[in-house]
């Protein structure tokens, strides 16, 4: 009964932690645009915390630099279950323009933490980010929550 109630509430209340693992900041700016009145992220029940301990969704941007290899795992372990990871933009998916020969990035992010959803684009449109979070998060969180039992 209590878990069922939790599921319902969690579906409409998503806490997001934004992690920039060494990108150009373009995707982060698109996330900021999401917080603006035009897109108004919070009307969907999504709240950007920037605290992994409270996060349901970890939004990863950036192409994973040397320093972020360990920290990314640490952040992932700090987030409470159930948690999902969304790779935002091309950097965490493929390394994008940083993944040149002789470059020092360790993309993709899925080498370090399990990724549930990918949003491609450099940067993706705010509406695409929103679409991805809303399409994946409620279902995934609810499903993972139930699996735990």
């Amino acid at each position: 009964m209590l878990d069922a109630l939790k599921d319902i509430i969690r579906k409409s209340s998503i806490h997001v932690c934004l992690v920039n693992s060494g990108g150009c900041n373009g995707c982060d700016i698109e996330v900021v645009a999401l917080l603006s009145p035009r897109y108004d992220l919070e009307q969907y029940g999504i709240y950007v915390h920037n605290n992994p301990r409270e996060a349901d969704v970890i939004l990863v941007t950036g192409a994973v630099t040397e320093q972020w290899k360990e920290n990314l795992r640490r952040i992932y372990t700090k987030a409470p279950e159930p948690k999902i990871v969304v790779a935002l933009g091309n950097c965490p998916i493929s390394g994008d323009v940083f993944n040149q020969e002789g470059g020092c990035v360790n993309a993709p992010v899925s080498d370090f933490i399990p990724v549930d959803a990918e949003v491609s684009g450099c940067p993706p449109r705010p509406s695409e980010i929103l679409e991805a979070i809303l399409a994946v998060a409620p279902g995934a969180i609810a499903a993972k929550g139930r699996q735990k039992e």
Partner: protein, 342 residues
């Protein structure tokens, strides 16, 4: 405490409750703007497999050239595939794609629209490397740094040039820097042909005077410009352009004139064999004749003929005013100093 009361009042207001219940996002936030540059579109049948797109792509692995398997009827197509996870939608691939129509199109890329890339100018500035003295005055006068030095040559970067003409004023050598009209190419050709042919005909009409000319004298004549100008304006109805063209043509035009004195001919037919283009023919009735249409003005006949049938003269031209103040083309003719078989 007062703030709590204010909050309670805010929450109790009907309009707030209505807005809260009926909140929805506007549709326009998911719509892409008209000029949004999305992922490139691939039309694989146009691809020539040159690989320009992969070379231009700034993101490694965003474009992969793939080749279909050969079938019994035809060879497999080669075409680019866009990897969404790496493409940054910059549109460079569409910009460099050389096929027509383009294999790759990417939104309304401003570089694909020709009216934006090609400057709307009618003159192209070029430097004649042969005449250029490399004083670099044009380089200093250029306001947009379009003129640069490369490999000890002064070059104009056509992409940067705004056709202001400042370099032309700065250039101390006549003809070393030229503003060439890039429109009406066919008409310009017609005018060039008209002028050259008219001038040659004028000179050849005065063959008799030329024959009397001794080898150390020069022969001067004038040709009025008015008539020629009228004819040229009929082809291109822009006086400024026609005058510019005429000046450029006559400026460094060197014409070779061959005269033919049949009275001196002894029908030895030495020239017939020597003529490289077959312009000189022999016929029993008409004797040795020269066809000016075929003639290359190479002067081989002049050097071959032992009797001086073929005369060879060099003509130079200049547009100027004569003593009456009329615009004329001054023609100066000089007998050639080539060695002749005696």
């Amino acid at each position: 405490m007062s703030s709590v009361i204010w909050y309670m009042y805010e929450f109790a207001r009907k309009s707030w409750a209505e807005k809260f219940a009926g909140a929805k996002s506007e549709h326009d936030i998911v719509e892409k703007p008209d000029r949004f540059r999305d992922f490139p579109e691939v039309f694989k049948e146009y691809c020539i497999g040159c690989g320009a797109c992969t070379a231009a792509c700034p993101a490694p692995g965003a474009i992969k050239l793939v080749r279909d398997e050969d079938t019994t009827d035809m060879e497999g197509l080669t075409y680019p595939v866009i990897v969404m996870g790496a493409c940054i939608r910059c549109g460079f691939c569409a910009e460099v794609c050389p096929t027509d129509p383009k294999t790759l199109t990417c939104g309304e890329n401003h570089l694909i629209r020709e009216e934006f890339t090609i400057l709307p100018v009618d003159k192209m500035f070029v430097i004649d490397d042969y005449l250029c003295i490399r004083c670099k005055k044009c380089m200093k006068s250029c306001q947009v740094d379009a003129i640069h030095e490369e490999d000890n040559k002064i070059l104009v970067d056509q992409k940067k040039c705004i056709s202001c003409g400042d370099c032309l004023d700065a250039c101390p050598v006549k003809g070393a820097l030229k503003g060439i009209y890039i429109s009406n190419i066919e008409e310009q050709k017609q005018i060039i042909n008209l002028i050259v042919q008219t001038l040659e005909k004028t000179i050849e009409d005065r063959q008799e005077d030329l024959k009397k000319l001794s080898s150390d004298k020069i022969f001067k004549m004038e040709y009025p410009l008015v008539e020629l100008k009228e004819k040229a304006i009929n082809i291109i109805p822009k006086e400024e352009m026609v005058m510019d063209l005429m000046e450029k043509i006559t400026d460094r035009l060197k014409m070779r004139i061959i005269t033919w004195d049949e009275e001196k001919c002894t029908k030895c037919r030495l020239c017939v064999e020597e003529c490289p283009s077959g312009a000189i023919t022999y016929n029993k009735e008409t004797g040795v004749t020269r066809n000016p249409e075929k003639c290359l003005r190479c002067s081989t006949c002049h050097q071959t003929c032992p009797f001086g049938v073929a005369g060879y003269y060099l003509a130079k031209f200049l547009i100027d005013k004569n003593s009456d103040g009329e615009d004329v083309i001054l023609i100066t003719l000089k007998p050639s100093q080539l060695p002749v078989v005696d």
